[in-house]
C-alpha cells in the first residue's frame, strides 16, 4: 500500500486497519441507553464467569504475581482475590478467570468479546489508583463501561471481517484480543492517536500464536489462557507505546516483510466494517450451559429430551443430531477425549451428558465424571448431520441463528419427537426472557465467592444502572476483593 522507500517513517500513511481502530478508540462517543444497559449486563455476566473459575485449581494456579509476595504499589485488583498486580499481569489474570470455563459471552462470527474485558478492568483500575495516589480522581464506572463497549465492538467487528482460525491461516483468533487490548489500553493509559497506532503496529509485527491447541486431538488447556496471554501482550505494547516506543505504521501492508505477506498468506486483513455499539447489544450470552458456542442449542435440545428417554436408555438405537456446517466440522468428535478441554468442545459428549442428567455444568467435564461408561455408549450411537438450511441460517448476517435439532430412535421402531432450537438461550432474539436468567447466573456465581452481605451489595449495585455508573472504579474493584 504505502510506498515508503526513501521516506521517513513519520511521513508514512499508517495501514487502514490501524487508523480505523485508533480513530474509533479516541472518539469521545456517548452511547445509547440500550448499549449502556447491555454493557452493564456484559459486566455482570463476565464477572460472574470470573468468580466461577475459582472452582478450578488448573485456572487459579495461573493467578497472582510471578513471585509470590511481590508488592506492586497502586497495582490493579483481580476480582475474587487479594492480589494487586501490574496492569499487564492483572489483565492476564482477569481475562483468564473470565474465559476459563468458556461460559462467557460470544459473538456469532467466533471468539468471545468478553476476552477483552480483563484488559479494560485491569487498566482502568491501575489508572484510577495511580490517579488517586497523585491526588486526582478515579475513573467512574460510566467511563469504564464506555471502554467495555469499545472493546467488545472492535473485537466482534474484526472477528466478522477476518476469519483467522481457518485452516489456510492456522493462527489463533486471540490475535483479535491482542489488537483490542493494545488499542484500548493505550487510550486508557492516556495515549493519543499516534501512540495507539504505534501499539497496534507492535501487535502486527509480533509472533502470533497458532490455533493448534484448539484442534482435536491436540486440544489442551492453553485454549483457556490464550486470550489472557494475548491481553497481557496487548497491555505490554500499550505500556511500551506510552513509554515512547515508536511503531511500524505499515506493519500489515509492507511488501514481503509485513503481516499480510508473512503471517496471513498474502490475504488482506480487513478493517472492521463499522464501529459503533452493535456488538454489545447483540452479543450472545451463555446462560444455561457451559459449552462451546455451537453446542449451546444442542445442549438445550438434549435437556428437553432428557425426561422422554431417561427410563429407556438401554433401548436407544440411534440419536440423530442436525446441526449447521461449522459445528459439524469443529465440534463433531469421536474417539477418546483426553481432558476437559477436549470434552467441552465435543458436541456428542455434551449431548450425552445433557440427555443423561438433564443439564450440564462445569463439573460435567472432569475425568471422574467422564468415566461414566454411559456417556461413551451414547456417543457411539450418535449421528451428526449437517442441515443445509441451518448452515445458511448460521452464516447469513441477517439471520445469525445457531440451530440444532435432535430425534432419538428406539430399537422397537418408535421415536421421540424431533426437538429443534433455532436461537439458543442467551441469544439477542430471546433477550427479554433471558435477562432474568443472566441475573440468576450472576447471583449463583456471587454465592460461590462472597458472603451474603457482600453478595447483596454487589448484586444491588450491578442491578442499578444509575448507581453503577456513578461508582468509582477503584472502589468497585475493592468490593470484589475476597
Amino acid at each position: 500500500m504505502a510506498k515508503a522507500r526513501g521516506k521517513s517513517v513519520a511521513q508514512v500513511q499508517p495501514d487502514q486497519v490501524l487508523s480505523v481502530i485508533a480513530d474509533y478508540v479516541v472518539r469521545n462517543a456517548v452511547y445509547p441507553v440500550a448499549a449502556m444497559k447491555m454493557a452493564r449486563y456484559c459486566l455482570m455476566d463476565a464477572l460472574g464467569c470470573a468468580l466461577q473459575a475459582f472452582a478450578s485449581a488448573e485456572c487459579t494456579r495461573h493467578l497472582g504475581p510471578v513471585v509470590a509476595g511481590t508488592v506492586v504499589p497502586n497495582g490493579a485488583r483481580v476480582p475474587g482475590t487479594r492480589f494487586q498486580l501490574d496492569p499487564a499481569k492483572a489483565a492476564f489474570d482477569i481475562s483468564c478467570l473470565i474465559r476459563w470455563f468458556d461460559f462467557n459471552a460470544v459473538w456469532f462470527t467466533g471468539g468471545s468479546p468478553a476476552d477483552t474485558l480483563g484488559t479494560v478492568l485491569a487498566v482502568a483500575d491501575y489508572v484510577s489508583r495511580m490517579e488517586v495516589a497523585r491526588g486526582g480522581k478515579a475513573m467512574r464506572m460510566k467511563e469504564v463501561m464506555r471502554y467495555l463497549i469499545k472493546a467488545y465492538e472492535i473485537h466482534g467487528m474484526l472477528s466478522g471481517a477476518n476469519k483467522i482460525d481457518r485452516s489456510d491461516i492456522g493462527l489463533d483468533s486471540t490475535l483479535l484480543v491482542k489488537i483490542t487490548a493494545a488499542a484500548i489500553a493505550t487510550k486508557m493509559l492516556g495515549g493519543n492517536r499516534d501512540q495507539i497506532i504505534n501499539a497496534l503496529s507492535h501487535v502486527f509485527v509480533d509472533q502470533q500464536a497458532l490455533d493448534l491447541y484448539r484442534i482435536h486431538p491436540h486440544t489442551g488447556p492453553r485454549k483457556s489462557w490464550a486470550a489472557a496471554d494475548a491481553a497481557r501482550r496487548g497491555v505490554q505494547f500499550a505500556l511500551f507505546s506510552i513509554g515512547g516506543e515508536k511503531g511500524y505504521p505499515t506493519a500489515i501492508s509492507t511488501k514481503h516483510w509485513g503481516f499480510r505477506d508473512v503471517q496471513f498468506k498474502g490475504k488482506e486483513f480487513n478493517p472492521p466494517p463499522r464501529l459503533g455499539s452493535h456488538v454489545v447489544k447483540h452479543v450472545q450470552f451463555k446462560l444455561a450451559f457451559p459449552t462451546q458456542r455451537h453446542c449451546q442449542s444442542a445442549a438445550e435440545c438434549a435437556v428437553a429430551l432428557h425426561p422422554e428417554i431417561i427410563a429407556r436408555l438401554d433401548q436407544i438405537e440411534r440419536i440423530e443430531i442436525y446441526t449447521h456446517g461449522l459445528a459439524a466440522r469443529i465440534v463433531n468428535v469421536s474417539g477418546p477425549l483426553k481432558n476437559y478441554a477436549a470434552r467441552d468442545h465435543c458436541m456428542q459428549y455434551i449431548v450425552a451428558v445433557a440427555l443423561l442428567y438433564g443439564g450440564i455444568t462445569t463439573d460435567s467435564y472432569g475425568d471422574a465424571f467422564a468415566a461414566d461408561p454411559r456417556i461413551d455408549a451414547l456417543r457411539a450411537r450418535m449421528i451428526i448431520r449437517e442441515e443445509p438450511a441451518y448452515t445458511n441460517g448460521h452464516h447469513d448476517p441477517e439471520i445469525r441463528s445457531n440451530p440444532n435439532a435432535q430425534q432419538i430412535f428406539f430399537r422397537d421402531g418408535s421415536a421421540t419427537r424431533k426437538v429443534e432450537v433455532i436461537y439458543p438461550i442467551g441469544d439477542s432474539h430471546r433477550r427479554r426472557a433471558d435477562l432474568p436468567l443472566l441475573e440468576q447466573k450472576f447471583r449463583d456465581n456471587l454465592a460461590r465467592r462472597f458472603a451474603p452481605r457482600r453478595r447483596q451489595q454487589l448484586y444491588g449495585l450491578l442491578s442499578s444502572q444509575q448507581r453503577l455508573e456513578a461508582v468509582a472504579m477503584d472502589k468497585f474493584m475493592d468490593m470484589l476483593v475476597a
Binding site: 515508503a4 522507500r5 513471585v67 509470590a68 508488592v71 493448534l212 491436540h218 508473512v262 474417539g335
Partner: protein
C-alpha cells in the same frame, strides 16, 4: 475425526534429551563459556549507558518489590525472573555487539543468556520451594546448552528467507534449558518447548530497511522472557503439545514455515560455544564504524580456534573497559580478581557472582553516563 495421540516431534525429543541427559565434558567449552558470560556482561553494562535501553528496564510499575528477586547486572533492580530475563537479554543485545554465530540464519546465542542468568539468580535467592544452590559452573553448563540449541536451530533453518525473525529460537532454547534448571522433567522440557513453538514467530520487519526500529534491540529480551514464562508454567504442570511442529495444516511447519519442516540434524554438543564469534575489539566508535564491519573483519581470526590466542585478550579488554565505565576502581579490581580464570570462578555461588555486578540502591547514578 479419530482421537489418536500424536507422537512427540523428533526435534522436541532431541532437544529435551540433550538438555536433560547431555554431560558436558569439554574443558575448552567451559573456558569459552566463561568468555561468553563476561563478554555478554560487558555488552549489557555498555548498553545501560544509553537512555533508550535504560527506559526498557525495571519493573512494569515503578516501586514494585519482589521478594528474593533476580538482579539485573549494572542496575539496582530486583525483579521476577520473567522481567529480569527481559532486562538482562535486552541489555546484552541492545548495541548488537554481543557474540554471534553465522549459520543458515544468523543470530546471537547470548540473546538467551538473560533467561539463564535471571533464573539462576532467582533460584539462588528465592525463599520458596524452588530454592536451589547453583554455582557459576552450573550456569555455564546451562549457557553452553542454550547456545547450542539456538545455534543448531539457526544452522538448520532459514527464518529470514520467510520474512520471519529467528529470535523465536531464543524463546524455544531458553524455555527448554530454564525448565530443566527449575527442576523440570524431560516431559516438562518438551511441554515448555512446545508451548514456546506455539507462540509463533514474529516478523523480521523491524530489522529491515526503513522499518528498522528499537524492537530489534528488545526482541531478544522479549523472547527470553517468554522462555522463562513457559518454563515456569511447565514445572507447575502445564501440559504441552507434542506434535506442535509437524501436525499437518495446524502445526508450525505448515502455518508459519510455509510447509518447510523444522530441521535439527547433526549432534548437539558444545560446538556453538566453542566456535562462537566475539565482536571485538570493543567498538568505542561504533557510531562511525558499523558492527557489521567489525564482524566481517574479525570473523576469520576469531572464528577459528587457532586464532583464539589473539582474540581472547580482546574480550578481556572489552570486559574491563565496560567495568571502568560502570564501577568504582575498587569494585573493578574485585570483579577482575574473581573473574580472572575459570578455576577461580567455577565454584562461586551464582548469587555471589551476581552481587559483583549489582548496583546498590543509593549509587544507581553510577550507571548514568
Amino acid at each position: 475425526m479419530n482421537a489418536k495421540q500424536p507422537p512427540v516431534d523428533r526435534v522436541l525429543t532431541r532437544i529435551a534429551d540433550y538438555v536433560v541427559n547431555y554431560r558436558i565434558t569439554s574443558k575448552s567449552a567451559y573456558e569459552m563459556a566463561r568468555y561468553c558470560l563476561l563478554d555478554s556482561l560487558a555488552c549489557a553494562l555498555d548498553a545501560q549507558r544509553h537512555p533508550e535501553c535504560r527506559k526498557m528496564l525495571g519493573a512494569v510499575v515503578p516501586g514494585t518489590t519482589v521478594l528474593g528477586g533476580a538482579r539485573v547486572p549494572g542496575t539496582k533492580f530486583k525483579l521476577d525472573p520473567v522481567k529480569a530475563a527481559f532486562d538482562i537479554s535486552t541489555s546484552i543485545r541492545w548495541l548488537g555487539h554481543n557474540d554471534t554465530c553465522f549459520r543458515k540464519d544468523s543470530g546471537h546465542p547470548s540473546d538467551g543468556l538473560g533467561a539463564i542468568i535471571a533464573v539462576a539468580d532467582y533460584l539462588c535467592r528465592t525463599r520458596g520451594q524452588q530454592r536451589r544452590k547453583l554455582n557459576v559452573k552450573d550456569v555455564l553448563s546451562a549457557l553452553i546448552k542454550v547456545y547450542e540449541i539456538q545455534g543448531q536451530l539457526l544452522d538448520n533453518n532459514d527464518f529470514t528467507g520467510l520474512g520471519l525473525d529467528s529470535i523465536a529460537m531464543v524463546n524455544v532454547a531458553s524455555s527448554a534449558v530454564v525448565t530443566h534448571m527449575l527442576g523440570g522433567s524431560r516431559d516438562q522440557v518438551v511441554n515448555a518447548m512446545s508451548n514456546a513453538w506455539l507462540d509463533g514467530v514474529s516478523l523480521r520487519l523491524y530489522r529491515s530497511g526503513h522499518n528498522a526500529g528499537w524492537r530489534k534491540a528488545w526482541a531478544a529480551g522479549d523472547a527470553a522472557s517468554r522462555g522463562v514464562l513457559h518454563g515456569l508454567m511447565a514445572v507447575r504442570g502445564e501440559p504441552g503439545y507434542p506434535a506442535a511442529l509437524t501436525t499437518p495444516v495446524w502445526g508450525l511447519s505448515d502455518v508459519v514455515m510455509r510447509g518447510n519442516p523444522v530441521v535439527l540434524d547433526g549432534p548437539l554438543g558444545t560446538h556453538i560455544v566453542e566456535h562462537i564469534l566475539f565482536r571485538v575489539p570493543f567498538p568505542a566508535h561504533f557510531h562511525t564504524r558499523t558492527a557489521s564491519e567489525c564482524a566481517f573483519k574479525f570473523h576469520r581470526p576469531l572464528g577459528r580456534a587457532r586464532r583464539r590466542r589473539e582474540g581472547l585478550p580482546l574480550v578481556d579488554a572489552k570486559f574491563q573497559q565496560s567495568l571502568r565505565q560502570s564501577f568504582s576502581a575498587r569494585r573493578q579490581k574485585h570483579i577482575c580478581s574473581v573473574c580472572s580464570d575459570y578455576s577461580s570462578m567455577k565454584s562461586l555461588p551464582f548469587n555471589r557472582f551476581m552481587e559483583l555486578f549489582a548496583v546498590r540502591a543509593r549509587s544507581h547514578q553510577a550507571v548514568v553516563s
